[in-house]
Each structure stands twice: as structure tokens, then as C-alpha cells.
């Protein structure tokens, strides 16, 4: 873990432009994955709509910045707040009506889609043209000429989310979330405030995804509904957890570290075969679901425990 961290910190000082962009992609997926991990991996509420939170984060900071001159740092915090509220709203509605499993996933998906359509068609929200972030190179406005600083900031975000998960997993909140995932009914009988905890998990998870959303907007300088609210963002939040191991601390990090380079590799190897990289993506999902349900990290942990007992 420490070696990995050290490598991640040193990385930008050795990497070229191309490698840097891959590094950012890895971290972005890791951040999304970890945010999903809180709500779905730990609390067991399966989200298929993390794009909703990501997009709300990206749009809140961007519109506030472009139209009102609010620093994206502040916009990021406001976006996180907005996404947390959205999470609580989705959660409250769903849990009030006892939605679970597939139906809960469908509700989260529907919310993301509604937001996409809404942003696509509302002039006040910049419509389908999206938002172009003007480049100013002022750190107070979350802009840097040096990509390495962007990278390190994102690394810091990933570390923050991971540390948060690490801390809660040893405390009441995290232990109770796992209890809720495994059996909500039993958790209730033991006095766990199930609704409150699930909503809290959704709020934190939404806020974390929104943070990644703001980063995305500032780093790439352009967002539109088709990129930040699309279901492929939601899938990008899920896949690293599946590959690495959901409900584990380092699983999603490992997952992101494997998938992104693999994608890049297949992209460059089979440049002219349109779609092959996505076929590989699909095969990867299928193979892991079928043969390695706990993910790589989960399988490792299980093997270790198996040896001990």
C-alpha cells in the first residue's frame, strides 16, 4: 500500500504527457469507483446512476464559475453539497417505498437520465452545447498550467475518499453499513438506525462523485450532458469495484489500475478495429462476474484467510 502510494506520488515527475493523461484517467476512475464503493460496496445499495452525482458536481462548479465568477473550489463544495442532497432525495424516496435490488438500481438510472435530458434541453443550464471553461491559469480558480499539479490534486482526492472509507470501516458507521448490506432486518433488530445510515452513505457517496465531477470539468475544460450524465460514467463507477473487489478498501483502486491501462493498450494495439476495446471491456465484466465475484482483491483476501484457518 505504501509502495503503491509512493509510486503514485513520484509518477508524474517521470511520466510523459501521454502517461500523465493515463494516470489521470486511472485516478478519475478510482475516485468514481471509491464513491460507488461507499454506497454500493459497503452499504449494499446498488447504484446504476452515479453519473447523476458526477454530473451535478461538474455542472454546479462550472456554471457558478462561468456565469457568476465563483471559484470552482467553492463551486466544488457547493456541488458536493448538492449531490449529497440529491443522494438523500433519491434514497429517501426509494427507501420510503421499500425499493431494493433491481428496482433501486432502475430508479438511480432514471434519475441520471432525467438530469441528462433536463440539462440537454434547458437553455438556463447551457443546453446541449455544454459549458466551456475559460483557461486562466490561476490556482485560486482550480486551474494549473502544469498537469502534474492537477494529477496530484486528484491523487489527494482519491486518498481522501479512501482514507474516509478506511476510517469508517473500523468504526460504528462502516461496520453497521456492512451489517445493513448483509441483512437489513437483522441490523434493525440490533438497533442500527438503518434509514439514517443508508441516507448518510448515499450523501457521502454522492458528494465524493461530485468532487470527481468538478475535477473532470476543470481538467478537461469542457462538459456537456452527453459526457457527464451518460450511463457510461455510471458504469465506470461500477466496473473498477467489480474487477478489484467491491466492499473492500483497495479493490476499486486496484480495479482502476488494471482497467485503464488495459483499455489504453487495446486501443493502441487495435486502433483500426472499432469496438474491440469495448468487447474486451464486456468480456472482462462477464469473466469477473462469473469466475471471480469477489474481485481480485477480494479473492486475495479470501485466499489469505483460507490459509490461516
Amino acid at each position: 500500500m505504501i509502495v503503491l502510494l509512493a509510486a503514485a506520488v513520484i509518477f508524474p515527475f517521470f511520466a510523459g504527457r501521454y502517461m500523465m493523461s493515463i494516470g489521470v484517467s486511472v485516478l478519475l476512475m478510482a475516485a468514481l469507483g471509491q464513491s460507488w464503493n461507499i454506497m454500493s460496496g459497503y452499504a449494499g445499495q446498488f447504484s446504476f446512476g452515479h453519473a447523476a452525482f458526477f454530473g451535478v458536481g461538474a455542472y454546479t462548479s462550472s456554471i457558478l464559475y462561468v456565469d457568476y465568477g465563483v471559484s470552482p473550489w467553492i463551486g466544488m463544495l457547493l456541488g458536493m453539497g448538492a449531490a449529497a442532497l440529491l443522494g438523500v432525495l433519491i434514497g429517501f424516496l426509494s427507501f420510503r417505498y421499500h425499493l431494493r435490488g433491481d428496482f433501486f438500481a432502475l430508479v438511480t438510472l432514471a434519475f441520471a437520465e432525467i438530469l441528462r435530458v433536463l440539462f440537454n434541453n434547458s437553455a438556463a443550464l447551457k443546453g446541449a452545447e455544454g459549458v466551456l471553461i475559460p483557461y486562466r491559469d490561476v490556482w485560486q480558480e482550480f486551474q494549473f498550467r502544469d498537469d502534474r499539479i492537477f494529477y496530484l490534486i486528484l491523487l489527494l482526492m482519491v486518498i481522501a475518499i479512501t482514507a474516509f472509507i478506511g476510517v469508517i470501516s473500523r468504526r460504528k458507521f462502516g461496520v453497521c453499513l456492512i451489517a445493513i448490506k448483509e441483512s437489513q432486518g437483522v441490523a434493525q433488530s440490533l438497533g442500527v438506525p438503518v434509514l439514517k445510515y443508508k441516507l448518510a452513505a448515499m450523501a457521502v457517496s454522492g458528494a465524493a462523485a461530485a468532487m470527481a465531477g468538478t475535477f473532470y470539468a476543470q481538467y478537461y475544460g469542457f462538459i456537456d450532458p452527453g459526457t457527464v450524465f451518460t450511463s457510461s460514467i455510471s458504469v465506470e463507477a461500477i466496473v473498477p469495484c467489480i474487477i478489484g473487489g467491491s466492499g473492500t478498501l483497495s479493490g476499486p483502486l486496484l480495479g482502476a489500475l488494471i482497467i485503464v491501462p488495459l483499455q489504453e493498450l487495446s486501443n493502441s494495439l487495435f486502433e483500426d478495429v472499432h469496438g474491440l476495446n469495448m468487447v474486451i471491456y464486456g468480456v472482462l465484466i462477464v469473466v469477473f462476474i462469473m469466475f471471480c465475484r469477489d474481485g481480485i482483491y477480494g479473492a486475495l483476501v479470501k485466499r489469505q484467510k483460507g490459509v490461516e484457518t
Partner: protein, 292 residues
Amino acid sequence: MNIYVLQAFLDGVLMGGIYALAALGLSLIFGVLKITNFAHGAMMTMGMYAVYAISVGMGIGPYAALPLAMAMMFGLGFLIQRVLINSIDHAPAYNQLLLTLGVAYILENVLLMVFTPNYRTLTVDAFQKAIHIGPLTVAPARLIMFAVVLAVTAGFYMLLYKTRVGRSIRASAQDEEGARLMGIHVKRIRAAAFGLGAVCTGIAGGLLTPVMSIYPTLGESFQLKCFVIAVLGGMGNLWGAFLSGIFIGVIESLSGYFLGGTWSEMLIYGAFILILLVRPTGIFGRGNRRES
């Protein structure tokens, strides 16, 4: 009544037929296998390209290509269930959901590799020329499309209610354990149900081939709508799915006329959330609801 409204209504019913057939397949799969099939849109696209490929390859008309395409779709669905889904039978719901998502990526992008992202058209001019029915205009291809939808649905009804396989499917949907006790080979029935679901969806896609330009992600745009319709009709309630398919087609067309296309989309998704929350068994009541 305003003639444009009437025209919108007719267009809605005709398109609703496609929704109905696709959602019927989704609902059947959910009813028997208790799986929300995220590969449904991709299977619809498979149907489109199956008709396209057979028609071009064998030099026959798109409608003549339908039977063979149906057989292919059944084989595809049967295999997907037997080889992939079946092996994680009692995994948590979201694992099955993700598995079908992986399948969707594979199907869609294999099509992309084979057929490129270019638009393909297979329209037959004679069927495209609008004809007039009183004050209304309609392309014959759309009428044929709707007629085939009705015929396939009728055939589907006969299969489900008049044959042994159909009775076994319905029994398995209602009570898997009971079906097993009655000596029904549930595993094979589940694969058959997935195959039949694939046929319905594939035909719904295939019927669009002579009507619009196709591309590998076209089916995906129907997927969420299929979810909406199947939930509205009550997941697992086949006739509910069919009726709400027509219903959504009409609502979409009429609200598109009155409110504009995008707001009609909002309306439908909004209604979707409302139904999921308030009445997840669907407006026709009898649907299954999965607890997990």
C-alpha cells in the same frame, strides 16, 4: 378532433407496437428468470442486423428474412442463458444485472466491429411511399410492421397458452419450485424463456430495419423505454407489458406533439420513477416484484 392529433395518435400506436413487442420480451425474461436484462437493447440491435445481414446476404426482402432471424435470435438467447446467466443462477440480483451489461457491451461492439458505426439502410421504396387513409398518411412499411407485431404476439400467445412448453414457462414464472416438482425441466425452460424473450426483442428490432437507418447503438436507445414499459405493465406481466407498450407509444407521440420531444422524454422518465416508487407491481397489478 384536430387532424394532427389523430395523426400523432396513429403514429404512436404503430411505434407502440414495437415498444410492446420488445417490452414483452423483457417482461417474459424478468418473469421467468427474475433478471433485469441490460442486454435487451443490444439484443434488439442484433435483431436489426440479423435481418439486414440475411436480407443483403441472401438477396431476399427484409420480411422474408424474418423467420431465419427469429431462429438466430432464439439460438442466441438460449445460449446466453445456458452458458452465462445460468452459471450464476443464485448470485445476488446486481451480479446478474452486471452480467447482462457485460453481454450488452460484447454484442453491441461485435456489431460495431463487423458492420462499422456507419448507418445502414434497407428501405424498400415501394413500402416507403406514403399512402392516405382518409385524412391520415402512413408509410406501408409501418403498417406491415404493426401487422407483423400483432401476428407475432398472437403466435406468442398461442405458444404460451396452447402448448406444453408454454404452460411450463408460465408455471416456472409463477412458482419455480412447484414447477420443478411437477417434473418440468426448469433449467431448459429458463433458457427457452430467455430465447423467446430474445426473439420478441429481435423481431421488434428487425421490423425497424426496413423503416429506419440502423447503427450499432440504436437498440440501446430503446432499452430504458423498455424498462419503463415493462415496469408500467408490471414486471413479468406479459399482457401488461404489451398494453403499456402501445400506451407509451401513444403518450410519447401525443406529448411530443403538444410539448415537444424532449419534454415528453422527461414526462416518461418522471412517470417511471413515480411508478417504481408508488406502484412497482405496475398499473395492471399482477406483476412480480423481486425482493432481494
